[in-house]
Subunit: 339 residues, 2 copies
């Protein structure tokens, strides 16, 4: 099937290529009658303008890029990314932008991809995930002058546009909730320490610990995998003064933690309360269903995409705040059983 070009439409309509272009793009320069005729012919022969030709003359790719810096085999376990992508995608496709995806091994490879994408004019802008402290990608993107929105922060995003949510407030709310239930020995199983949002949560945890005088509150480090999350839980629950509540930095570790607790003969929430960050269907999959800190992740992705398109369009690179994660109490939290 030969794919028609603008010249085919022009020929059948008996007008020039220019007239067709004006007609299809809603520009003045053709009469309404001619426009309708051209539109009808374009529809009839199934014409879509070549994205390459359009990109070439418009000097815009009509696509935005997302590089994911995660090992292939663990990328899929957290539902977060796919939900984010679907939100991004919904917003983009509504505005006829394409999403170009690439999985990269590390930040150097990611920066190389940005450089290539920008040089090849393959994307008009990028979304940056998993912000680290002292993230090398920030200065690299600033130097390239590649429009970007960093999903993360606040702080550490340089002059780039960003979208952040108030994780500190969410963590504070969660600790206050657990304290209100009567918990004092609260542990937090944190994700990778060099991620910016882990750092923010850690700082917030330290602050509320001090404010409420929770001297027994501890943070232990993990890496977002279920394996490590389970191991950290086992250590916590084996200690002499084991915590009565644990906050996990993601859903996968929380589920692993729940399994470990049950395996060790503890009941949840009787002996141990569990809170998961990142509410997802996984949290409702297990028994008891997990109390979780959630937010609308597809909406978050859509918000990020909207912001990026605004930046691409030349609007100032602002720092936009998204919804604060909110606590959804379910069956995994309760007052501690007095012993």
């Amino acid at each position: 099937m030969k794919r028609p070009t603008i010249a085919d439409v022009a020929q059948r309509a008996g007008v020039s290529k220019g007239a067709v272009s004006y007609a299809l793009n809603g520009q003045p320069g053709v009469s309404e009658a001619t426009r309708q005729r051209i539109l009808a012919i374009a529809t009839e022969i199934g014409f879509s303008p070549s994205s390459a030709a359009r990109a070439l003359s418009a000097a815009a790719a009509g696509a935005i890029g997302l590089a994911l810096c995660r090992p292939a085999r663990t990328l899929g376990v957290e539902p977060f990314f796919m939900a984010l992508i679907s939100g991004v995608e919904a917003e983009l496709s509504a505005r006829s932008y394409a999403l170009t995806l690439q999985v990269v091994a590390d930040h150097d490879a990611e920066i190389a991809v940005y450089r290539r994408w920008w040089g090849e004019r393959r994307v008009d802008g990028v979304l940056v995930c998993d912000l680290r402290t002292d993230d090398r990608r920030i200065p690299a993107l600033e130097h390239l002058q590649l429009p970007a929105v960093v999903i993360g922060g606040p702080g550490g995003t340089g002059e780039l546009a960003s979208l952040w949510s108030d994780d500190a407030a969410a963590l504070t709310e969660t600790v206050e909730y657990l304290v209100a239930l009567g918990h004092r020995r609260i542990a937090r199983v944190a994700g990778l320490p060099d991620l910016r949002h882990t750092e923010i949560r850690t700082d917030a945890f330290a602050a509320i610990r001090q404010r409420l005088g929770l001297v027994e509150a501890v943070t232990v480090w993990s890496d977002y995998t279920g394996e490590e999350g389970g191991r950290a839980t086992r250590r916590l629950l084996s200690s002499a003064e084991r915590p009565t509540a644990v906050i996990y930095d993601n859903d996968v570790m929380a589920i692993a933690g729940l399994s470990v607790a049950q395996e060790m003969g503890l009941t949840v929430p009787g002996d141990l309360s569990i809170v998961a960050w990142d509410d997802s269907p996984l949290c409702r999959l297990v028994h008891p269903p997990l109390t979780a800190l959630g937010r609308d992740i597809p909406a978050y992705g859509a918000h990020a995409a909207r912001h990026l398109l605004a930046v691409v369009a030349g609007q100032p690179a602002g720092r936009v705040q998204d919804e604060t994660p909110h606590l959804t109490p379910r069956g995994s939290t309760a007052p501690p059983r007095s012993r």
Copy 2:
């Protein structure tokens, strides 16, 4: 930062655009000395050829498309897709192809996306997921003459290229394994019935049921969500003659089923053996870890991408078989406790 074009390279090297093009693409027509000089200049000023310009003259997009037909909020729960995508991506980026992703609501929207992508010359080919019985997308793609590889089958892929794995053999192996452990009352919680691979597994289950005379073997229908999987399990375990082993069509339903069993006071694997299709880190997250039918999904995606690129390059649209899923016994299967 002004992005350099081939004309900039040509000017600095004191040659014509054509010479630069020959030099960069390893074509004859320039001396080795000149080629090296041009290459050095290109590297120095950070030149990457515009993908749009290249696409325009080569009449190839340098990208392949993947449309995902799933609701945004459930897309991420199964690790399968992200693992598949990362495998696809690894293969593509190694060959300098881009991956364009779009989330669509239904098959009509998906077909419209294919039509647009192909008309816009945005992709050179597509990967098709979640093959249904009597899938409308197949004739639509054949009619468009858009190069495609269907991930699924065997059967129902028309004249299109496809990549399939022998789910029937895998299911048979699993049932034989359970029977060898001593199980007779084996249930299967199936996924959406109009998916081709569900149908294949259902047929295989019926065949082995007949062959081994497992008159008590039943299939119940679900939809791959944890919620439905849990509900199906609850029904099965409440029946008078409850099964001693359940095979789930995906990992998410299996985990939900495990939770339901434990909630109902049954021990796994003592009272109930569980097998999950699609091994994933989720299966090792829970206690006991789930016996699962697994395969290397990133490799599957990479294989599909390779096959598609071959089809795009004009090779015949063959039906290629991938690795058969293999059973990994873990803690969720054991001989039935005699009662």
